[in-house]
Subunit: 337 residues, 2 copies
């Protein structure tokens, strides 16, 4: 914002590898926070796609209260990867989800980037440990996995590889927190990390219930937004059961209702995406969502979500209901280190 003052604070220079949907979203967030951004993508059409994508998300960034007037003033494109990371303080990689490709990318980055650079991959499915075997300094690489889209959803999962250093984890946490994100350091590397595992567990049962004809997709969606979705936006699953356990809280719930819930688990569905199931889900999706362009539906959803985020931020109750007594983010890192 004050790029021309006499003593500008040092700004992070961030290299965003990959100009797809995730890369664009990260780039937009970084730029709106005043960082210098280099986007590196070998595809000739990448530059136009990134500029179009930034124009599309600019309104959402503005609704987050970020300045977007000259969003691309500090944006540069550099298709050559080694050149793109040569002066980077932070590298956020959003390349294809293929281990061989990621290894090749990171080998190049490690050789060309400054020794102090934070090295983070947005991967949702490849463990840092698997990529880091290609590196001389595996302790530098960490997963910084956003929940799509990164500029809008608060969570960033910071997932260590087997050899990621505590310093790298804390630095990643501080970097994402400085952008207004809600980083969470996981204590162990686990396939799918946390949010996507939870999403997959719930979606599995969703597919089962629709395939069994208990509800349609649209009906199930309404059930979720009108009950557990609303609940979990304010208080997570453990807190929700704690508050539902009466005066005895979660311990009471576990002692008195835990066995009953456990008894229901074997009865949950184990569907598969076989042809009839995919055909049914596709037909229902076309009926329920087919009326308008996805982009417009997504923009509406994003505006509604921004309204929720503002409502939560405006109530001390909201933040306290979500985060309880734990006000010091430093605790997370200490517990992990």
């Amino acid at each position: 914002m004050n790029a021309h003052t006499s003593a500008p604070r040092p700004r992070d220079r961030v290299t965003v590898i990959g100009g797809g949907v995730i890369g664009i979203s990260w780039a937009g967030l970084f730029l709106a926070h005043g960082l210098d951004v280099v986007v590196s993508d070998p595809r000739p059409e990448a530059k136009d796609q990134v500029l179009a994508g930034l124009a599309e998300i600019a309104p959402a960034l503005a609704e987050l209260g970020l300045p977007t007037e000259r969003l691309t003033a500090r944006l540069r494109f550099e298709p050559d990867l080694a050149a793109a990371v040569a002066e980077a303080d932070v590298v956020q990689e959003n390349g294809p989800e293929r281990l061989d490709v990621k290894r090749e990318i990171w080998r190049t980055v490690e050789a060309a980037a400054p020794a102090h650079a934070l090295l983070a991959t947005s991967t949702s499915g490849i463990p840092a440990s698997a990529i880091a075997t290609a590196l001389r300094q595996p302790e530098r690489l960490v997963v910084g996995h956003p929940f799509n889209p990164p500029h809008l959803v608060p969570l960033v999962e910071i997932v260590p590889g087997e050899r990621t250093s505590p310093e790298t984890l804390l630095r990643a946490r501080d970097f994402y927190a400085s952008l207004g994100k809600k980083p969470q350091i996981l204590r162990k590397e686990v396939p799918g990390f946390v949010a996507n595992r939870l999403q997959a567990a719930l979606f599995r049962e969703c597919v089962h219930l629709v395939a069994e004809g208990v509800v349609t997709e649209a009906e199930l969606d309404d059930i979720v937004t009108d009950s557990i979705g609303l609940r979990w936006a304010v208080a997570g699953p453990f807190r929700t059961f704690h508050l539902g356990g009466g005066p005895g809280g979660l311990p009471h719930f576990l002692r008195h209702l835990g066995r009953a819930m456990e008894a229901t688990w074997p009865g949950l569905g184990e569907p598969s995406f076989d042809e009839p199931t995919v055909a049914l889900l596709t037909a229902q999706a076309e009926e329920a969502f087919g009326g308008g362009p996805v982009g417009e539906l997504a923009a509406r959803r994003d505006r509604a979500q921004l309204a929720l985020m503002r409502a939560l931020a405006a109530t001390a109750d909201g933040r306290q209901a979500q985060h309880g007594q734990r006000e010091q983010p430093a605790q997370h890192g200490q517990a992990t280190a």
Copy 2:
């Protein structure tokens, strides 16, 4: 509100069976909507408990925009069940979750209530089919399962027994909708209904991830509120993946990512509430939530949730993001009938 106008509209007379937490919440909602309410509970302490409970939830009812000044003016207590339902238009039963008890209650109600009365049980776990074998007119009984607390969470699952009539389902839907709830008629009786099955599926993985030491309860709760919770408050799981599938929507997602998600399902956890797990979950709950009385935490959560509901209601985007093109609730019933 206008109880003394010369031509009052006919008011439903509702009998609430059981003066526990769920019964109190229903009674408060019914009273705030101007209905005549009889609470029937054989316990001598029930009356005091109900009055205290109503006083506790009155502020939340007021925040919903409902009149609460003379909330108990149309409230009556009648411990004798047959007498309590003798003039009922609607019976909402919240008795103990035991099949033999529920059968006995409903046998009495069927014999004593007017022939036109809507008969609904709040049960979360007992199928209407199993209760209705005790009735001469099983087509009259339906599950009207609220998500706790009924006065606050919009969802009511309307679940048919094998012999529940379509007329009963539609009447239940209209009744709950008239109270501002979001009723959803399920197309089939299934154990746990829908919302609790989804909750159980997700919570199973939550327990697994905490038991495995990937995250603490408090960390997992933050992950949920900062990602999937926020998402699902605005758009359910199918719509979320539809909007995440790019221009091709959910069909594209299913074709390209369905198999990848399916491959993750066998790796999801299968924990049990054995002693070490319960001990760990209890210890973490005490650390995370132990600081204050559950009632105060719950009140905070409820205020935050009300703020979200108001934010959603205030944006056309919110309702459209949630409910899409389907604006006619009548569709649900037609599809089910």
